[in-house]
């Protein structure tokens, strides 16, 4: 018979975690669902139990203590602009949120969901029948990577647009887990392994994204995609420079995790860019070729440096 399905909608983070523990065998948290439901439609997400966390109000606040801005994980991308706390201090966040997907998706998609967005690959984001026909890849329990013609590791692409911008401004995430609450640098949750790209426990829930307010970041980002809306990124670059001259370059869309290069404004920017290009493990798993995306990293970062200068 067709397996029994469950849908639960807890009211608090604690309740959500308890619920998750009860259904540990096969569950998935659902925030906006714009990523999870499509993956479910294609058969890449098969959890019998969906735990819908959108009823948890404690994840929907934007607050500041003067030093840090805390953005609740369930704040929708489209709602960023409504919060003066965000728009005043981090205008780049408003801009990057606007570049994600389409207007309607942004009304549902959350910031927490976006930083946890599942990695993508032309050979993975396909229906069950398609993946069976191609002969399942590593990311869906197959034996080899199809994109690279047989490599033994998975190079699915990290595609969050907001995460590179957040990381460039040293964002942290506050996570609730069964053992309590902890705060980590956002970049530390990305493993670089395309099959399991994040090291968070399945039970964990992001509560807040935390950004330092007083470093006067100047931030610029770029996104490569064929159309001016809807598309996932083929390359997202972000550079932030703070008031101490710290430079942080983050590149997404070209590697299983965000590429991060740190330096200072005194450094040779060409050297920093070279480092970023060198670090990116780009393979042909996107609508743009490997070579082109590689080349565009340099073009985009140069343009951002020009703007930030």
């Amino acid at each position: 018979m067709i397996a029994e399905k469950i849908y639960l909608k807890p009211k608090s983070v604690d309740e959500a975690i308890k619920t998750a523990l009860q259904h540990q065998a096969s569950f998935r948290y659902l925030a906006g669902g714009t990523d999870v439901i499509v993956n479910k439609y294609q058969g890449n997400e098969e959890a019998n139990c969906l735990i819908d966390i959108t009823g948890i109000d404690e994840l929907k606040t934007v607050t500041s203590d003067g030093e840090y801005l805390k953005i609740g994980a369930l704040i929708c991308l489209d709602d960023f602009k409504k919060h003066e706390l965000i728009s005043k201090t981090f205008p780049a966040l408003i801009n990057v949120a606007h570049e994600v997907a389409s207007p309607m998706l942004r009304k549902t998609a959350t910031i927490g969901g976006n930083v946890l967005c599942e990695n993508r690959c032309s050979f993975y984001n396909q229906t069950e029948r398609w993946r069976e026909a191609v002969g399942y890849c590593l990311k869906c329990e197959g034996k080899t990577c199809i994109a690279t013609g047989g490599k033994k590791s998975c190079f699915s692409r990290f595609v969050s647009d907001t995460a590179p911008v957040l990381i460039s401004m040293d964002a942290q995430i506050e996570i609730a887990d069964k053992d309590g609450i902890k705060t980590l640098p956002l970049e530390s949750i990305y493993t670089g392994n395309g099959i399991s790209p994040r090291n968070l426990s399945k039970i964990a829930i992001i509560k807040n994204i935390i950004l330092p307010i007083n470093r006067n970041f100047k931030c610029d980002f770029r996104k490569l995609r064929p159309r001016e809306a809807v598309d996932f990124t083929s390359l997202t670059t972000a550079i932030a420079i703070d008031n101490n001259g710290k430079v942080k370059i983050v590149v997404g869309g070209v590697d299983p995790k965000p590429i991060i290069i740190e330096g200072t404004s005194a450094d040779d920017k060409n050297e920093l860019i070279k480092k970023a290009v060198k670090k990116a493990r780009i393979v042909d798993n996107d609508v743009y070729s490997r070579e082109y995306r590689k080349e565009m990293i340099t073009v985009f970062l140069n343009r951002s440096f020009k703007v930030l200068r």
């Binding site: 018979m1 067709i2 029994e4 399905k5 469950i6 849908y7 909608k9 659902l30 669902g33 714009t34 439901i37 499509v38 479910k40 439609y41 969906l50 819908d52 959108t54 997907a101 389409s102 207007p103 309607m104 998706l105 009304k107 549902t108 032309s122 050979f123 984001n125 396909q126 229906t127 069950e128 029948r129 398609w130 069976e132 026909a133 191609v134 199809i146 064929p226 159309r227 001016e228 809306a229 809807v230 598309d231 996932f232 609508v287 743009y288 070729s289 070579e291 082109y292 080349e295 565009m296 073009v299 343009r303």
Partner: protein, 939 residues
């Protein structure tokens, strides 16, 4: 299952839902509100947008249980008390509605947007609509409707609404031809109450899903359905052997099996069909079917199929030689060798285009049932008549036992122009089970069904003199047909013969091959068979103009065919507005001051095109007229127009009413159109080859003239006045001196006295045209349309990205019977052309379509669509109804090369591959740079 309590449009629903059921399904199937559409199932097209607690939500990716207790507004809840919302009125009035399938989502999205942004800029409107795919309109009229709505709301003090229904807004009854008006069904579509194929909810229907091949080319060794059959709720499983009769739209290509019998020919071909009590059960059962395959050598590219295939098995055993060539066409006029010698500049270039898909927003859907009248099939089809024939053939029943009903159609563009496997399968299973059987394809299945534009490779030689006169054109073309024939034989010819205009060519030759490959089949798509070769030739003309230092507009002007002339292949050209078209766009775009005069990276390009106004020859050779229209008028004075023509969103129903109203001097509200029901309506060959306005329009005109004669005779006899003195106008029948002055109803009373309802017919039969050589019939048409486009682009020389800034287009449609509809067709064509030239491609990996959804198949969004400047050129065709000819397809041809030529003007690189990818542009820019450096060194 869990109960939820929701309010939809203020009505309370207590509904049992599956735990993971999507809101769209609950709204459509459990609440029965089918105005909410499903176009992509993945949140990429916006058709499913509804308001939940006043906020817009994509209902196809939203679990229903998330919104237990919520208040939902669907499109059906936007109008109040029978009165359209002002935004809906604007959609209707502006012609923002063609097929109407995206309309519900568009209206809801726009409504929410303007509520929150009362003073939007045009860019903001485009941005807000960028997640809603429209394939018909090019967004232009939608954006206009939203902008005007916002302005009117703002300037509020809403004027008192007129009580007249909107569709009668063009008040004049002095003639209906030439008056811009919305489609007659637009108010229905804008409220979400027009029924499309998947909106029919037939009681006790079974649902069909398919098991599809995972091999591109493989022998089927065994199909084990036992486990699937044992699943509760499974009623029937069909396999290929049950449907042994092959089919295809052309009598010469009956090469398709509804369900693969002995072998599969592409990944995704149907190998078994399960009918079950629900779609979910059917889908689950499909996974339980075990198919054993023995893979055969696959042929995935043109080259693999074109050459000798050695000992491998052919895709179709019917191919003549030891390769997979399906069709070869070759025609030669004049002397190409001499032409090449005579020409002072000769250019030889290779071009390559990938395949593209129609991308209509409504996925295919069909419902079949059998009763005392035989088979009835309700289906999303452009060609009810051919489908009728295919069903009779494959079901082995007389033609008199088949009825095909076409509901409203969510776009076609050629993609609903063949009989399809799924239609035959549901008919078969309905007969086997004695129950109605329903199927709807997922978006992925729509892509697998394909029938889209052929991937094409070609080598073209074009020669001209230094004075700009074209001396020779020689084309060698190979097109990739995929697994089956479809319209391919026609496509093969069209790639050559449709080069013989709009320019005078004394020496024209072509050889075209179509090959089978193990991929989804290609067929007819808007601009059928001519788009890719047109792109090549227009690019090469541009290049030669550059070489001989002549303005490309001027060079074209020197070569155009005249009106009332013949082409080298004996096409009869009658009306021809190509010169007006190119001059109009040149003037409007300030071409003289712009082309060749912009800074590096910024350019202007021009191109032209032409197309047939219906094929003069029918697909099936017989003596039937190409179109018949019946009119019936009874005591109520309303003229019932019955036509077999398929309105697929292009407005043909409205066109028929306009013509009949014009002839009879009556207002539109005295007409009623019933179309494309093969039991009730007479044969029309369907919506393909841009034939409907010309052919069904002429048949309607003929019928109306016959009815007029009947009325004249009756009134003349009764009132003792010569028939020729009677005038039909403004809903009256009168003589100049008013000795007779009847209202329409009085005239009809005289007509029907002692006789009752009067039925008349009209028909269209194309005149005998063309030469008597083999292949002379290809591309013959009673009339041809002509068009020209100028595009403006900017090229980013660091990234290779191309941005289209403007498109100016002009199209000679003979006469615009309904200018609003003509503009809509033109803008939609140009938008579709922009898609093919910039972002669209069917991209394959080992025979598997990589981008089989609306996220990865990249139809330009509203943000990607530049301002389009639309011009209608009227030349009053001598044989078209009131001078009209086609407008649905011909406009597309010029826009693609105009963009490529603009890129040449901007950065000096020649595009030979479609789509134009930024990485290819960048590569070409680098090559050019290198060449420049080498030539500098040499100097």
């Amino acid at each position: 299952m869990r109960p939820i309590n929701i309010k939809i449009n203020n009505k309370v629903y207590n509904i049992l839902v599956d735990e993971h059921e999507m809101l769209s399904k609950v709204i459509r199937e459990k609440a029965g509100l089918t105005g909410t559409k499903i176009g992509c199932e993945q949140g990429s097209c916006g058709a499913c947008t509804v308001l939940v607690n006043k906020e817009p939500v994509l209902s196809c990716i939203t679990p229903a249980l998330r919104f237990d207790g919520a208040e939902i507004t669907t499109i059906e809840g936007i109008a109040t008390n029978g009165e359209l919302h002002l935004l809906q009125e604007k959609f209707v009035e502006k012609g923002a509605i063609q097929c109407g399938f995206c309309t519900p989502g568009m209206v809801i999205t726009a409504l929410d947007f303007v509520n929150k942004n009362p003073e939007p800029s045009i860019h903001e409107i485009k941005d807000a609509l960028s997640g809603n795919v429209c394939r018909c309109t090019g967004y232009k009229k939608i954006i206009e409707a939203v902008a005007e709505y916002a302005t009117e709301v703002k300037s509020s003090e809403l004027k008192v609404k007129s009580s007249e229904p909107l569709i009668d807004k063009p008040k004049t009854t002095k003639g209906t031809v030439g008056v811009p008006r919305p489609y007659i069904e637009a108010t229905k579509k804008v409220q979400g109450i027009a029924d499309y194929a998947d909106d029919y909810q037939t009681k006790d229907a079974l649902h069909v899903k398919f098991t599809r091949s995972i091999h591109a080319h493989a022998r089927i060794l065994n199909i084990d359905t036992s486990e699937a059959m044992a699943l509760e709720g499974v009623r029937y499983i069909a396999t290929g052997k049950e449907l042994p009769i092959t089919f295809g739209v052309l009598p010469l290509s009956q090469d398709e099996e509804a369900i693969a019998i002995d072998k599969t020919r592409y990944v995704g071909e149907i190998v078994a069909a399960v009918a079950a009590d629900s779609e979910e059960i059917a889908e689950h059962a499909c996974k339980l079917i075990q198919v054993k395959y023995q893979p055969l050598k696959e042929f995935l590219t043109i080259d693999e199929s074109f050459n000798d295939i050695g000992t491998a098995e052919k895709i179709h055993s019917t191919s003549k030689f030891n390769n997979n060539i399906h069709k070869k066409a070759e025609l030669r006029f004049g002397d190409q060798q001499q032409g090449l010698k005579d020409a002072e500049v000769v250019l030889k270039m290779d071009f390559e285009m990938v395949g593209i898909n129609h991308g209509f927003t409504e996925p295919h859907a069909s419902t079949a049932f059998w009763d005392e009248n035989g088979l009835t099939l309700i289906s999303a089809t452009q060609v009810s008549h051919y489908l009728h024939r295919a069903l009779a053939r494959t079901m082995e029943v007389p033609l008199s036992r088949v009825r095909v009903i076409k509901p409203h159609i969510g776009g076609g563009f050629g993609g609903k122009g063949d009989p399809f496997a799924h239609e035959i399968i549901v008919a078969h299973i309905a007969r086997k089970t004695g129950k109605p059987v329903k199927v709807r394809l997922t978006r992925e299945e729509v892509f697998l069904n394909n029938h889209g534009r052929h991937p094409t490779k070609m080598t073209i030689q074009l020669g001209a003199n230094k004075d700009g006169l074209i001396k020779v054109l020689d084309a060698a073309v190979v097109i990739d047909g995929g697994a089956f024939g479809s319209f391919g034989i026609v496509t093969t010819y069209y790639n050559g013969v449709l080069l013989q205009a709009p320019y005078k060519l004394d020496n024209l030759g072509f050889i075209t091959h179509r090959v089978y490959t193990n991929k989804p089949q290609c067929g007819a798509m808007r601009g059928h068979g001519a788009v890719n070769t047109r792109f090549a030739v227009e690019s090469m003309i541009d290049d030669i103009a550059h070489q001989i230092k002549m303005d490309p507009v001027e060079m074209r002007m020197k070569n155009f065919l005249d009106p009332n002339s013949f082409t080298v292949g004996q096409y009869r050209i009658t009306s021809n507005g190509i010169k007006q078209a190119i001059q109009t766009v040149a003037e409007q775009s300030d071409w003289k001051n712009k082309h060749g005069k912009m800074p590096e990276g910024h350019g202007f390009g021009v191109a032209c095109g032409f197309f047939i106004s219906g094929s003069a020859l029918p697909i099936f050779w017989n003596e039937l007229p190409q179109s018949v229209v019946h009119l019936k008028v009874d005591f109520d004075g309303r003229v019932l127009i019955a036509s077999g023509a398929n309105d697929i969103g292009q407005g043909s129903d409205t066109m028929l009413a306009i013509i009949v109203a014009e002839v009879l001097g009556i207002s539109m509200d005295k007409t009623f159109v019933i179309a494309a029901d093969t039991l009730i309506t007479p044969v029309d060959l369907g919506s393909y080859s841009s034939r409907v306005t010309f052919m069904a329009g002429n048949a309607a005109k003929d019928a109306a003239e016959n009815l007029k004669k009947e009325i004249e005779t009756a009134v003349s006899k009764k009132k003792n006045i010569p028939a020729e003195e009677l005038i039909f106008s403004e809903n009256r029948v009168f003589s100049n001196d008013k000795t007779v002055d009847l209202s329409w109803d009085q005239a009809i009373e005289i007509l029907t006295a002692n006789r009752g309802a009067v039925n008349v017919s009209g028909k269209y039969i194309s005149p005998k045209l063309g030469g008597d050589f083999k292949g002379a019939g290809a591309g013959l048409s009673p009339s041809y349309s002509f068009s020209s486009c100028i595009s403006e682009v900017k090229v980013d020389t660091e990234t290779g990205q191309v941005k289209i800034l403007n498109v100016w287009g002009a199209h000679d449609c003979g006469r615009a019977l309904n200018p609003l509809a003509v503009e809509g067709q033109l803008e939609g064509s140009w938008h579709m052309g922009i898609g093919q030239v910039m972002t669209e491609e069917m991209s394959y990996y080992n025979g598997l379509l990589l981008n089989n959804n609306f996220l990865d198949y990249k139809i330009p969004t509203s943000l990607d669509t530049p301002p389009i400047h639309t011009n209608i050129i009227e030349t009053i065709d001598p044989e078209g109804p009131f001078g009209a000819k086609e407008t649905g397809e011909g406009a597309i041809h010029a826009v693609l090369p105009s963009i490529a030529n603009a890129i040449y003007d901007a950065v000096g690189i020649r595009i030979t591959k479609l789509p134009i990818k930024s990485e290819d542009v960048l590569k070409l820019l680098k090559e050019k740079e290198k060449q420049n450096q080498t030539s500098k060194v040499e100097l």
